[in-house]
Amino acid sequence: MILDGKAPTGRIEESWDKYRFELKLVNPANKRKFKILVVGTGLAGASAAATLGELGYNVETFCYQDSPRRAHSIAAQGGINAAKNYPNDGDSIYRLFYDTIKGGDFRAREADVWRLAQVSNNIIDQCVAQGVPFARDYAGYLDNRSFGGAQVSRTFYARGQTGQQLLLGAYSALSRQIKAGTVKLFPRTEMLDLVVVDGEAKGITVRDLVTGEIRTHVGDAVVLATGGYVNVFYLSTNAMGCSVTAIWKAHKKGAYLANPCFTQIHPTCIPQAGDYQSKLTLMSESLRNDGRIWVPKKKEDCNKPPNEIPEEDRDYYLERKYPTFGNLAPRDIASRAAKEQCDEGRGVGPGGRGVYLDFAASIKRLGENVVRERYGNLFEMYERITDENAYKQPMRIYPAPHYSMGGLWVDYNLMSNVPGLFVLGEANFSVHGANRLGASALMQGLADGYFVIPNTIAGYLATTKPGKVKADHPEFKKSVEEVQGASKKLLGINGKKTVTEFIRELGTTMWEDVGMARSKESLTKALQKIPAIRKEFWENVKVSGKGEELNQQLENAGRTADFLEFAELLARDALHREESCGGHFRVEHQYPDGEAKRDDANFCYSAAWEFKGVGKEPELHKEPLKFENVHLAVRSYK
Amino acid sequence: MRLFSDSIGRKIVMAVTGLIMVLFVVGHLLGNLSIFNGPDGINAYAEKLHQLAPLVWGTRIVVGLSVVLHAVLAVQITLENSAANPTRYAVQRSLKATFSGKTMIWTGLILGAFIVYHLLQFTLRVTPGLVRGQDSLGRFDVFGMVVQQFRIVPIAAIYVVGMIALFLHLKHGIQSTLQTLGWSNETLLPRWGVLGKTLAGILLVGFGAIPLLILAGIAGN
């Protein structure tokens, strides 16, 4: 089937304003009669719930954490982009739009990206009004920095904790609505199913993580803002609780999942220290501004202390391969290059999975004090984790899964193919295409929540009657029984391996075969291994305790079970996409110099997959992408 | 917003009454040190105070009210605080809290008891064995009374204990007062700490010297 993204046509500059005017409205008196369920309280979810509540809708919001403020948006360090052009360096809405399309390697819908760039400016104003303490210059105006290789300074930041500050802003707006009674909060509550009645999303089934109670919530629309799925690699920069569960359940109920193979690997993370490790910690990419990346030329030097390796025996491979960009090569290129060095046996640190990021030259040139001023907090964090002093010896870094561009397919209204189901933020596939630019994730989350959904959801609600479906509808009972059945099944297996062992095994397979560099061979292998792990999981997992109580094993088991199904789709999507673009690199499709080779003739579309049953071949639907404003071009960073 | 029932409101009342008492105690010390000038010193000082009766009574009322308010709120707040944190940790380790801070309620209660005794003894003069005489100029002989009392070891000991309690109470209390009143920041707070300790130390040495030097026979002769 050819999917229609419902993007407005005509001049792109007017597209959003015109569309907004044409959207239907909901009468203020009727708004409170509509109940909207918002799942997830990160930037997208909290901003959506707060704004919808403020507009007068009756909102219920859910998060698995004990407080909305803990959503993983909180961990974003770098900043948030906006096209304010405060520094007068040539930025504009058009340029942000252009950079996002190009950075995404031409795999995003133009109109959506335009809208994002347009509302980016409102986000900054909104956050300032909420009391977000953005960095300021000495005149008292908002400070900007250039980020992730952008040629303009359009990134607004709050020290190294921009995500935290923006989330706390959205959380405060949400808290205000909770007090006002327009939003009801359900913390420690995990969504385990989407309830679809007559083809429309009308509720969710949740598990109260404290009591274990499984119950349904009925609504007139469901908004998912449940984040990304890179924990499918097990070790990632995501929080431990981040999972694919909410969007996977929606997928199983009919929502298409688009471009799952578009995952972003961040190049500057602290390498894994041992098998017990539970997560990887990201360090700001800004480190690459002053650090030089190298590995020993000789394999036998890898175990030597780095300071004993003479200059001529060091390979500054990024500077060698990409003389123009050098150590500032884009995320995907830097990540892949690091993996290549380690695959060749020249990696350093535990397991040979690391490369040096050396500040010796900068310290010599600028002095230790300047380096400390710029990166002191990062060096401190590095030392806390590794016990190594990066002023004295080079840091070790390694790439780690970081962000998922793919997600549930949505149209221009952010509505999935299931009417009434809206998907925001990282959980949807929309604006980042095949690769997300630095400092754009926060922008998208808040754009979707504050400025897009409050408008577009009315378009849907105006076509439906409030309270159309009641809680006694048999679909709700069925959904509860399904969820209870799955829990019971997990608790009844009583096998020999723990949930963690399974997710580690899956993660290892995904990282090795579906990670940074994918091939037909590796993907085919993964597609054999994943179902085997899944099969063993359902025969041999050990989940103890009861369902009707707080049971963290059961929570993890449920999430892992979903990852085990989803992983197959990710690998399948990667196998089907016979091209390299953005975060998706197929070794068969590269230029002789190792650059990604896109295939616009055959793959200039979003791949939206329809669920057909576990282990069954999903059906592919394509949304062709048209580029009328930005012309398809090859990315080059030589 | 309520001064006498909101958490911070009551703390402000405690801080203000505390400050009043500190000011009083400082004045009291300055007056008392006249004992080291012999009978002419302190007896003249006492006589002078009696001539200023309205001022004395005004001070007594303000300070007395302060003591009562401070004590009542202290007991109330302490009870509330232990209710807000009913279970202790199995391992007790403080990173910053001091002995003087943690014993405020106890040093406060000791001071309360001390004040009662002190008033009965030297203001109402009803404690047993007290010598009430007149000096050669016909003034009430404060000097003789105090010297006689402080040469009794248990009485001198009561005073020393009382002054140690005062020291501990103010060592925490002075910086705490200024913090509670909001006159504090990262630069000022350490200075208030030093100020508090210094003032508390001066009061300890000043007040403590009186019974100790008299007991030792160095003063009061």
């Binding site: 929080a239 017990y276 | 402000i12 909001g182």
Partner: protein, 269 residues
């Protein structure tokens, strides 16, 4: 670097952990062995090892809150040997590494203890009271949309930096857990100060501080005795100067209240 890592052996530790089945169940300490721990394990990864062992033995694993494991979400919370997060400067429990311990150490693990934080299970407590403080007043009434340009009101850099210092709070509740009085003054002080310092938050500053102080009492928090244990235990190094600011804001609001200005503006709303 692997040479460096192999210098450290593995450790065996004794954990004395508070186990409590539910809010109203009696709790007790249980002793567990943590074996084969390397200096590079984070504290929570050490607990993972113990839990994997317990699961395999068919015993109930230790329940604890955690999520981001990079020191920013504020979920992790346990008192290690009497101090929240273990008491290392600017370090949350998830960022505490086992190299701070020696082979054979006995480690006491307890949940946050305060009336305002009822125990849910083992080391997990209910910190909803902190959310309720923010709900009471930890916001500006800015409506979505219709706000002026971000640069329309210049904010002195020092004010922005001051607000950011306060805003670094991760809401973990260590301040309350460390406070001998179970008070939330550092948490509330940080939010009140952040918003009172910025022009956008000044508009509602008196109402905010009044509501916040009232909410602290309603949610079972104690009163401040200026011990500063909160500051010492705070994994983000939030300064007690923000408590002084909270007191100052309260004092200012009290004056407004007494002259009736606050009541009038509250009525107008």
């Amino acid at each position: 670097m692997s040479a460096h890592a192999s210098e450290h052996g593995t450790m065996n530790l004794k954990l004395i952990v508070w186990r409590q089945a539910g809010p109203n169940e009696p709790g007790r300490f249980e002793t567990y062995d943590a074996k084969g721990i390397t200096p590079h394990h984070s504290f929570l990864e050490m607990l993972d090892v113990v839990n994997e062992d317990l699961i395999k033995q068919g015993k109930e694993p230790i329940v604890f809150d955690h999520d981001c494991r990079e020191g920013i979400c504020g979920a992790c919370s346990a008192v290690v040997n009497g101090v929240p997060h273990g008491g290392y400067k600017r370090t949350t429990l998830c960022q505490l590494h086992m190299r701070k311990f020696k082979d054979g150490d006995a480690i006491y693990l307890e949940p946050w203890r305060a009336r305002a934080f009822p125990i849910i299970k083992d080391l997990m407590v209910d910190r909803g009271a902190l959310d309720r403080l923010i709900q009471a007043a930890g916001w500006t009434s800015a409506h979505t949309g219709g706000v002026p340009d971000g640069n329309s009101t210049p904010i002195p850099k020092r004010a922005a930096d001051y607000a950011m210092d306060a805003a670094e709070c991760i809401g973990c509740g260590a301040c309350v857990a460390a406070c001998p009085n179970g008070a939330a003054m550092l948490f509330a002080g940080a939010k009140v100060s952040q918003l009172a310092e910025l022009p956008q938050g000044q508009v509602e500053a008196p109402e905010r501080v009044a509501a916040m102080v009232q909410a602290m009492a309603e949610n079972g928090f104690g009163n401040c005795s200026n011990h500063y244990e909160c500051e010492a235990a705070c994994p983000k190094g939030i300064d007690v100067k923000f408590i002084a600011r909270l007191n100052r804001e309260f004092r200012k609001a009290l004056v407004l209240d007494k002259v009736g200005a606050l009541k009038k503006s509250a009525k107008a709303e």
